[in-house]
Symmetry: C2
Subunit: 132 residues, 2 copies
DNA sequence: ACTTATACGACCTCTAAGGTCGGATTAAAC
DNA sequence: GTTTAATCCGACCTTAGAGGTCGTATAAGT
């Protein structure tokens, strides 16, 4: 499985939309949602989250909307996914979480190795590259 | 969050257990479950599934149990995960599944590129390597 | 004032992961 | 041949999270 969440996909499409625009130019959440047939309320919430995290900037009121804040070449896909979905890890033990098998597990070490490799793939992709 | 399912982890631990034994030597599902504190019924079902898929061999009756059937160097991690969890893909469109955004999606192509890279990571790892 | 946007939290629904249970089948051991 | 210890198989339960909706507050341009 190893699927990306819908929220992340929507967020990427929104960023892609903002990416084309000139700095300072605003786009409303509603407009983006309509363009790509994304559930409006969900996208709005997601953009709000991205605003809190400093990825986009918001202007309230009529004629308000969102615009990019950071340079997308400086943000790795890992950073972005973790912003929205929490830690990227193949197993619970790759992060804090305790697991009933912690004491008896025989595959932890090799799994961690693979986990690192996979995470490197995402680390080496910037958001700017996803916009191509 | 791109996590492996519990079932897959249990299956890997079980394979790791069988990997050490000589061919022909049998181990019962119950014994493996007890050794690693894995829910017995769940492991049993998982091993049955692996038997149907031809990864392990089973002998019924008392003194029965499981033993490896295939050479673990010939099985990629992708194959294994897909056996247990279904297709490995970052998005629905990477497999058949239709998606409401299929017509309007702007990130499909780059996502597919990343999907391929990620899948290659798992393709290039054999189960034998996970047993190390 | 009115309108149009973001902001935020509560809530709902559905699916799948994870686990449990009960019983059927097979075959070694007595 | 009965018992016993294992695999087999499907039905079921529970919970967490994904995905989405709603109502309302707040900000700002006209
Ligand atoms: S300790 Fe083993 S079973 Fe537990 S999360 Fe880590 S890899 Fe999985
Ligand atoms: S078409 Fe776009 S939104 Fe739909 S699954 Fe593929 S990548 Fe995701």
């Amino acid at each position: 499985m190893l699927k990306l969440s819908r929220k992340t996909e929507y967020a990427l499409m929104a960023l892609r939309h903002l990416y084309g625009k000139t700095t300072e130019q605003l786009t409303s959440s509603k407009e983006i949602a309509a363009t790509y047939r994304i559930p409006g309320e969900l996208l709005a919430k997601t953009l709000q989250q991205l605003a809190r995290e400093g990825i986009v900037e918001t202007v309230q009121g009529p004629l308000g909307g969102y615009r990019l804040k950071v340079n997308l070449e400086k943000v790795s896909l890992t950073d972005f996914i973790e912003l929205l979905e929490g830690p990227v890890a193949l197993t619970d033990c790759s992060i804090d979480k305790n697991c009933d098998q912690l004491g008896t597990c025989t595959i932890r070490t090799p799994i961690h190795r693979i986990n690192d490799t996979m995470k490197n793939v995402f680390n080496n992709v910037t958001l700017a590259e996803v916009m191509q």
